[in-house]
């Protein structure tokens, strides 16, 4: 009697069961189509942005048009299927890793429950193994003997418009965070499968605006915001003014100064948006404190690289400005600010894409004499490594009590943690600049860290619900330390995190703020000649 009633209860009377309800799936995953509705997809790229990118040397972004994912007709080119299959063949020939990733998965399922999108949605196509299977099934069908003969029995399927739509849906429900690859016994990097899916989609003009507009801005003015040199300079000068008001210390940053020892590059969000602004103030204070001979560039005015989220060629082109500016200005090496995916590009791709940077020197701290051998090849050192070394050598005057208002925890940003192994330096800094900070549970930090849920260009507001779902595993771990230790500050070393975790906290854990580690350094620094006001909230204090 009660059981049928319970079944009735699980269905909406008004709408019937939605995609995520209705319990046990009765169809094979291949037979469930991707359905686009408001809130579950990011807006397509504007025609003018695609046209602009396609007009640029060495870039290929064809089929610029107005289109709507909710409509049946995506206005694909007539020969879209040939384009996709040819594109896949080219990539299989070009990238040995892709070929191996397509062949070696044994579907053990170790990755299945490690993805924050799966954990937040319960959608099986968000299991990394199945997300990769979306591409692998087509690969089998057209590029393997078994698939050609046995077809569906061998897990193969024909490339259709439905498959293409599914690719669009699920390659943009992956933040390329690589948590799944940590658990893969074969080391399959599912992020690279997503990258290939996105590359292939761009060949037929399927991409999202939140990625292509910043990328085209970056190509035009050097940064995602489209800030021109004078605006970029003004913004940094405003921050210097704020620092003077707060601490009485006058800082005069230099721009495009030839002959400086160091070029400093950070995400442009740090000089424009809260709470990144305070992190940038931290950088300014730190460099002033040690008297570093450095300069900003108004052309290499962006550390981030949204090209990474589109294709190899655009990533390479946008990254090129870092070395080009370093060469033009004649600096010895580069210091990079707190950013996530920037460091994946710098650490894993820059050297082979745009290097070798023979004209630069291996970074050596002028204050401590430490040579950063880990950056011997790229010539670019992370601000946290640089700062930790200063602290270790006693070069900073720090007063932890200036962070008394902070009870922090630390979020390992995916790329610094998993793509470059930067895990201990930010923690070492925290040990020295705040009295109180605690770790989140072990399976949510370091190489097992959970993504903010909005990386790889998914930090756009039209998919806010999706972002809250995919950010649930991270927010859940933060809630634990809030409940247990009264944590009120989530610190991190990534600009996208600073923006997206703020929204994530506002939904899941209101009252918990987000900051960069360098902001906490800036708060704690005792500056020469300072005339510091009572700063109850550090650099955030309104005076």
């Amino acid at each position: 009697m009660a059981v049928p009633k319970l079944e009735q209860l699980s269905k909406s009377v008004v709408q019937g069961p939605s995609l995520a309800t209705g319990a046990i799936p009765t169809k094979d995953w291949m037979d469930i189509p991707a359905i686009f509705k408001p809130g579950n997809y990011a807006y397509p790229a504007k025609q003018e942005k695609v046209e602009y990118l396609n007009s640029q040397k060495d870039l290929h972004f064809p089929n610029a048009r107005e289109w709507n994912p909710e409509e049946d007709d995506w206005k694909l080119p007539e020969d879209w299927k040939e384009i996709i299959l040819k594109g896949l063949k080219e990539r299989l020939d070009k990238f040995r890793s892709l070929k191996i990733f397509m062949d070696c998965c044994v579907r053990c399922g170790a990755c299945a429950d490690k993805c924050h999108f799966f954990l937040g949605t319960g959608d099986p196509k968000n299991m990394p193994v199945l997300r990769a299977e979306l591409l692998r099934s087509v690969y089998r069908n057209d590029f393997t003997l078994g698939g050609k003969i046995l077809g569906k029995m061998a897990g193969a399927r024909e490339m259709t418009v439905g498959v293409l739509k599914e690719w669009f849906m699920y390659s943009y429900q992956c933040t390329e965070c690589r948590r799944c690859s940590v658990f893969c016994p074969y080391g399959i990097d599912t992020a690279e499968v997503t990258m290939m899916l996105r590359e292939l989609l761009h060949l037929v003009g399927v991409g999202i605006n939140w990625i292509l507009e910043p990328a085209s801005n970056s190509n035009r003015t050097g940064n995602h915001m489209g800030l021109q040199p004078h605006t970029f300079k003004d913004n940094v000068d405003f921050l210097a003014d704020d620092i003077e008001n707060l601490t009485g210390v006058k800082i005069t940053p230099s721009f495009n100064r030839k002959g400086a020892e160091v070029l400093f590059i950070t995400p442009s969000a740090d000089v424009f948006a809260e709470p990144g602004l305070y992190t940038a103030m931290g950088y300014l204070l730190l460099f002033e404190h040690i008297g570093l001979d450095y300069t900003w560039s108004t052309y290499a005015s962006e550390g981030g690289n949204f090209g990474l989220f589109t294709n190899n060629e655009l990533m390479k082109k946008l990254n090129g400005k870092m070395y080009a500016e370093a060469k033009r200005l004649g600096v010895k090496y580069i210091i990079g600010g707190e950013c996530g995916h920037m460091w994946r590009v710098v650490h894993q791709y820059m050297d082979t894409m745009n290097g070798p940077a023979d004209f630069l020197e291996v970074p050596k701290s002028p204050m401590t004499g430490t040579t950063f051998k880990n950056a011997a090849s790229t010539k670019m050192v992370h601000i946290s490594e640089f700062t930790a070394d200063l602290i270790k050598n006693g070069k900073l005057k720090l007063d932890k009590s200036r962070n008394a208002h902070v009870k922090a925890t630390f979020h390992d940003s995916c790329n610094p943690a998993r793509a470059m192994g930067l895990m201990d330096e930010p923690r070492y800094i925290l040990d020295h600049v705040v009295d109180n900070w605690v770790e989140m549970p072990e399976n949510t930090i370091r190489e097992q860290t959970f993504c903010c849920g909005s990386g790889t260009g998914l930090n756009t507001d039209e998919i806010m619900e999706l972002r809250m779902r995919s950010g649930l595993p991270r927010a859940n771990a933060v809630k634990h330390v809030i409940d247990k230790h009264d944590v009120n500050m989530l610190s991190c070393v990534c600009a996208i995190d600073r923006a997206t975790l703020t929204s994530l906290m506002n939904y899941w854990n209101p009252g918990c703020d987000v900051c960069g580690v360098s902001e906490l350094v800036g708060n704690a620094l005792v500056m020469d000649g300072e005339n510091r006001q009572e700063l109850d909230e550090g650099l955030r204090t309104l005076v």
Partner: protein, 180 residues
Amino acid sequence: MKLDEAFRNYREKIVDRWVDYTLSTYESSSFFKKEKDKFANPVGGNVREALDALFVLLARNADPKEFVAPLEQIMLIRAIQEFAASVAVGPIHAVKHITREILAKDKERCHLVQELYDFEFAVDLAVLAAFDLYMQCRERLYQVRIQEIKTGNFILTDSKCPTNLLKTNIQESIKAVESH
């Protein structure tokens, strides 16, 4: 045999079935049901923790205000997943049916089914509270979206960035010149 004793004895069984029922609303739910680590399995872990806490409150006829904490733990999650409002809230209701069924199957305790009025009324109140919380969560979500736009985190596209404004102004002035 008293009802409160029956609730104590059957707490685990009722909560297990309630959790199972709630998690069955997800398309791929076996992992959500199986994994006990709350950090590896946030949906399953939070649902289990919250429903267990809520059951204890319902069984002892607690002040409905106490329902808010465990209900919020669940509604925050379900409000942003792809559920219709009724499906998001529906599982809270299920404990009525589950409890009735379990007691009815126990020959020594089946008479207690007649005494479930207060318990079921408490569940009704919890369902109503869940609706309120569902709406609060939706509103919070919209606020987060508005806040993101206002604070300048939404600046990569269509922003009020000075250069972008300049761009618009130039384009507008070009249009104005052209139209003359």
